[in-house]
């Protein structure tokens, strides 16, 4: 536990020092949201209908940039090897990085919400729930994303491989997070929100434990 906190501190510090990059990713996400509305056309009803989907697609696309960057910095000067030589368990390094990525992605999601509200007129007053769904969805992206980023950062075609591996895997996150966000924006007459949030939680629990177990094998030599 102590090791996780130390690793998390290191990753947060790293993110803080490269905060220009985080801002750039946020701008990328906002641009993506703008492009989605061009693709649909100026039909405000349709835009409102698809607002949640666009928000999550924007977040998903920007997440690959954030996740890839988180391990890219460790590849420079063979920093990862140095980290693994420390007497800290590899699992702590994974959880530190995964939590760091999770916080960053949640922040990105929160940053994209105002863009969504302005562009698609998709406002909701259930803000705590919205942030909760964003946090759960971001957790679902960051657990497998961190694991795959650790692999793909060491390969030749990393820009292609990370989304290729990650996107099919996070289909349940996309489905349930979009549904939950949509229900928050458009109203939830059938009280389905709980089921979707439950699915997100199940996905998070499975992937946060499984990926943590497998990470050691990914970086071991």
């Amino acid at each position: 536990m102590k090791w996780i906190l130390v690793a998390l501190r290191k990753d947060l510090l790293l993110q803080w020092r490269t905060r220009a990059h985080v801002v750039a990713i946020l701008l990328f996400g906002a641009t993506a949201l703008l492009l989605f509305s061009f693709a649909v056309g100026p039909n405000s009803e349709a835009l409102l209908q698809f607002a949640a989907g666009f928000l999550w697609l924007g977040l998903m696309l920007s997440s690959t940039l954030a996740l890839a960057e988180s391990f890219q910095t460790e590849m420079e000067e063979r920093a990862l090897e140095g980290l693994l030589l420390l007497p800290a368990p590899a699992r702590a390094i994974y959880y530190g990085k995964a939590i760091g990525n999770w916080l960053q992605l949640t922040l990105l999601g929160v940053g994209l919400v105002p863009v969504m509200v302005v562009l698609y007129d998709a406002a909701t007053w259930r803000l705590p729930e919205l942030v909760g769904v964003l946090a759960l969805g971001a957790a679902g992206l960051s657990a497998p994303g961190t694991l795959y980023a650790a692999m793909t950062a060491q390969t030749r075609a990393r820009q292609t491989l990370l989304p290729l591996l990650l996107f099919p895997l996070v289909v349940p996150v996309l489905l349930s997070a979009v549904k939950a966000t949509s229900l928050l924006i458009l109203g939830d007459p059938m009280l389905q929100l709980r089921a979707w949030v439950g699915l997100l939680v199940a996905f998070d629990v499975i992937h946060w434990s499984l990926c943590g177990l497998l990470f050691e094998r990914v970086v071991e030599d």
């Binding site: 795959y148 390969t155 290729l164 099919p168 895997l169 349940p172 990914v218 030599d221």
Partner: protein, 243 residues
């Protein structure tokens, strides 16, 4: 690399020959001798190849999970070779499955694609496993390649039930499950013959592909020879301790 067998036994070819015979037999029976189905007429006949493909594609992906666990636990390249072969055959079978499904769906449902949970899960699995196959092409270190593809296969397999349930909830419009028990006796035999034929086809292809992968791995893992020597790989394999 003890278990990397590159033996040249004829078993896969025998299996493929048997598979060809059975598939021809079953398909001819299904196409020309089985009675037409009441509602769908002749369109249903694709079932004789579609359902066996589906069973075997699922079998291949289940085997991938088992092989990935074994590969990770034992660290033997033989399991890695089997994993790659099975994954590739599984991806090909699932692609065929989607293709056959679309051919059947257009005249029956009026659309090529439907967001049915089984269909969508198959599509997601194909892209997940094809992604792993792509990953394998971009990792040069055989040890890392083996570990990573096993890890990715385990994570992808663990994801399959979640994908299935999420899609099922997402799209509550649900088709009636076409399980083999609902098929009349008249339709049984061609279906069974084709299922066994398809199984043998899959096994034969997996064995052949395993051999190819094993040859490639053997080449990658071999220490550089002091002088260029046109070694016969088969002989080296037998000397190197085939299982």
């Amino acid at each position: 690399m003890a278990g990397l067998s590159t033996s040249r036994s004829r078993t896969p070819f025998v299996l493929l020959g048997l598979a060809g015979t059975l598939l021809t037999w079953g398909s001819v029976w299904g196409l020309f001798f089985a009675p037409p189905e009441f509602h769908m007429g002749d369109v249903y006949r694709i079932l004789y190849i579609h359902v066996p493909t589906a069973w075997n594609a699922m079998l291949a992906f289940t085997a991938c999970f088992v092989l990935a666990v074994l590969s990770l636990a034992k660290g033997d390249f033989a399991w890695d070779a089997r994993l790659e072969a099975t994954m590739e055959v599984g991806v090909v079978l699932s692609l065929l499955l989607c293709l056959q499904g679309s051919i059947w769906a257009k005249p029956t449902w009026g659309v090529f694609w439907d967001w049915d949970p089984r269909l969508t899960t198959t599509a997601v699995m194909v892209s997940a496993f094809a992604g792993i196959l792509a990953l394998r092409r971009f990792v040069d270190d055989p040890v890392k390649r083996a570990t990573w593809s096993a890890v990715a296969a385990i994570v992808a397999s663990a994801d399959v039930p979640i994908v299935y349930f999420s899609v099922r909830w997402w799209n509550s419009l649900h088709q009636t499950q076409s399980s083999p028990e609902t098929v009349s006796v008249l339709f049984h035999w061609p279906l069974r013959i084709n299922a066994i034929g398809m199984l043998l086809l899959m096994l034969g292809l997996v064995m052949l592909k395993t051999r190819t992968v094993a040859l490639r791995l053997r080449q990658e893992l071999a220490p550089p020879l002091p002088q260029a020597q046109p070694a016969r790989l088969g002989a080296a394999a037998e000397a190197g301790g085939a299982p």
